[in-house]
């Protein structure tokens, strides 16, 4: 009781002292002074809710791993379409509606790829130094001394010529501007010169492999890749929420002609290349911005995003999993890995009896028929065709890269820094000053970033596009060329078998296989019809 009375006395006093000290501390920048209120006044509480805890992130990764194991077992070991459907719905619930689509392996591509950072190098300008009667050492010394005041600045000893070298972020551009505005007095009674006029600032793009990618992102990116190398695309079958929502609506799927399926499938590589190009140059995350279903998972979002999502779902009723097959950039990575898989889902649990019943079971065009019938083309002609196609590979790749180099300037405008620099540059050219006619230039005019700093940054980003765009377009051309080669190579197939690259291990074909059916009956203790084993 006594203790409580003591608290009653101390608490209001303490609160008053805190408020008073805070008020005096900040009074200089205040238009209205904070009033002195009576001692029993306590300012309202402002909560600071914490972000998702570390433990819950461990849970997410563990759930992903568990889903991959169970999905692989359901597809390969138990051959259970029903099990896969249940798992699909659970994945839709957890990764889709509970985690609201984030983090996902598809988007993680953009977090693990290398990134062009921009480095600013400040060097004393010999001509300007001489004009003001200052030595390069004196300028370097002044810059270094002031750079010490800013945490973001690094004085690097790596170069001989430059006095300051720092990675360019939103803060460091301001830092450079602030140092540049400070003045240094030349000898004699000449007026002081701003430090920025005595140096040249050069900005260079430097390709750096991902720094500090959170391990959760790495795990989400890598675990499905490992699972695919072991068991095929079971991640697509029943773990990916984007696949799950499309699987749920694929009610009346039609089968596409093979040439159309192969052709449309190439768009995934174009999308992958474009997404990596933008992420690498720091231009944004294309995959996340264009994700058709994330708005549905979150039950909110821009109208256009929701409409596109709904449109893809309606299309998905008739054309099964359009996003997975023709766009998904992660699927584009999984396709070649699935070709190498250690084990893979099979149509039949035993020997194929070539009954052709599975032919129409697959809505993804992933079942390859045997090609033993008919005569192959003459060997000599086949060899010549292959040689010609192999020759086409480097030619087509080079042509693609050349096209990318030609387009690089236009592609670079998708980068916000380039767009900002161009807007500011246009206004400067038209009016001689940044007037702030658009939102972007208005915000820039209100910031303390010097104009030449922004323009130099824009040029550096353009240079990174000049490197990265030809690589991206060359990659697309290479994929197209390899596709041509692979279509020309004839591999002998004895049985109906899944195309390992395209098969999503969804398990639809299991039910149509009479061998599988017989096996199930046998398990239940019934005798299978004898004629099924006759062709073995």
């Amino acid at each position: 009781m006594r203790r409580r009375r003591w608290m009653l006395l101390v608490l209001p006093v303490a609160a008053g002292v805190v408020i008073a000290s805070a008020a005096t501390h900040l009074v200089a920048e205040q238009r209205f002074s904070v009033p002195e209120l009576s001692e029993d006044y306590v300012p309202p509480d402002v909560p600071s809710p914490a972000p998702r805890s570390r433990t819950m992130q461990y849970v997410d990764v563990a759930v992903l791993a568990a889903f991959l194991v169970v999905a692989s077992a359901a597809a390969l070991r138990f051959r259970s379409r029903g099990g896969l459907v249940v798992l699909t719905l659970l994945a839709l619930g957890y990764f889709g509606f509970y985690r609201r689509g984030c983090v996902c392996p598809i988007g993680a591509i953009q977090r693990v790829c290398p990134v062009f950072d921009v480095r600013a190098l400040v060097t004393p300008d010999a001509a300007a130094a001489e004009a003001h009667g200052l030595s390069a050492e004196r300028i370097a010394e002044a810059w270094r001394a002031r750079a010490g005041d800013f945490a973001a600045a690094e004085t690097s000893g790596r170069g001989r010529d430059f006095v300051l070298s720092l990675w360019v972020g939103p803060d460091s551009k301001r830092t450079l501007g602030r140092i540049g505005r400070e003045r240094i007095a030349p000898p004699g009674d000449a007026p002081p010169v701003p430090l920025g006029e005595l140096v040249r600032t050069e900005m260079r793009p430097v390709l750096r492999f991902a720094h500090g990618v959170p391990w959760v992102i790495v795990a989400f990116f890598a675990l499905p890749l490992v699972a695919t190398l072991l068991f095929g695309r079971t991640f697509c079958a029943a773990v990916c929420p984007l696949g799950a929502i499309q699987e749920a609506v694929a009610l009346k799927p039609v089968q596409l002609p093979a040439w159309l399926g192969h052709g449309l499938g190439l768009f995934a590589y174009v999308y992958l290349a474009a997404a990596v190009l933008l992420a690498t140059t720091g231009g944004g995350f294309l995959i996340c911005r264009q994700d058709p279903f994330v708005g549905i998972f979150r039950l909110s979002g821009p109208v256009i995003m929701l409409l596109i999502g709904a449109g893809v779902l309606v299309l998905g009723v008739f054309l099964a999993r359009p996003y997975c097959r023709f766009l998904c950039p992660y699927g584009a990575i999984l396709r070649p890995l699935s070709r190498l898989s250690w084990r893979h889902a099979t149509i039949t649990p035993d020997a194929c009896i070539r009954c052709r019943l599975c032919e129409s079971a697959c809505p993804y065009g992933a079942i390859r028929a045997p090609n033993t019938g008919g005569r192959p083309a003459p060997r000599r002609r086949g060899k010549l065709t292959l040689a010609a196609l192999l020759l086409v590979v480097p030619v087509l790749t080079a042509a693609g890269a050349w096209g990318g180099a030609w387009l690089a300037g236009r592609v670079a405008r998708m980068h916000p820094t380039v767009a900002r620099a161009e807007a500011v540059h246009r206004e400067l050219a038209a009016h001689g000053a940044v007037r702030g006619d658009s939102d972007v230039t208005e915000a820039f005019a209100g910031s303390d970033v010097p104009v030449d700093m922004l323009l130099a940054h824009g040029r550096a980003v353009r240079r990174s596009f000049a490197w990265a765009t030809p690589v991206a377009s060359g990659f697309i051309a290479l994929v197209v060329a390899l596709k041509l080669v692979s279509l020309a190579v004839r591999r002998r197939r004895e049985d109906y078998a899944p195309d390992r690259a395209l098969c999503l291990s969804c398990g639809r074909c299991y039910a149509s296989c009479p061998v599988d059916h017989a096996r199930r009956l046998e398990r239940k203790g019934a005798r299978p019809p004898a004629e099924l084993h006759a062709t073995d």
Binding site: V34, P35, A50, W167, P170, G212, W215, A222, S300, A443
Partner: protein, 202 residues
Amino acid sequence: MSPHDADSANGLTRRDVLRGGCIAGLGAAAGWLLTRDSATGGPAAMRAGAAGGERRVWQIDPSACVQCGRCATECVLEPSAVKCVHAYALCGRCDFCFGYYESRPGSHAGAGAEYQLCPTGAIERRHIEGQHYDYLIDEATCIGCARCVEGCNTFGNGSLYLQVRHDRCLNCNECAIAKACPSQAFRLVPAGTPYLPKGADA
């Protein structure tokens, strides 16, 4: 028996070798990614957050915010994860609050909604004593449009400011508002200190 199985009976196939290479490469790359030290990282590290150590989350730097209103419209969530926050240590507790009332002639004529700046009526004006009032933000109603922030910053103490609220924020790979922000006020901050508070209030 598929041709693959027939080959593997005689030893390694090309597929085995390629798969082994892929797994080894993937393991090495993942290990390398995880051991990279974020302390030496540049803007990429700032964007991506710290390795192994601290995760990073999106936040608004109130000193860079220009109150353009995009926080209300660009967020992937509806309503936005950005809300107005009040730094009570800075607030003058004014009778005529420029963050609460429309600053046009005669707008102090009454306490009706037509005189209020907030489009959703998310600010509660509560009398303390004398001529002093507290202005409380109802986060459930606030849409993060920054109209009150603009008023308070233009004519008042600037005690109202915008923050990403982490009970709502999904921490997207790429924050849609950050992308649209004309003043680059969004940045990634350590998850342990997820707010950039104004004043001594925090």
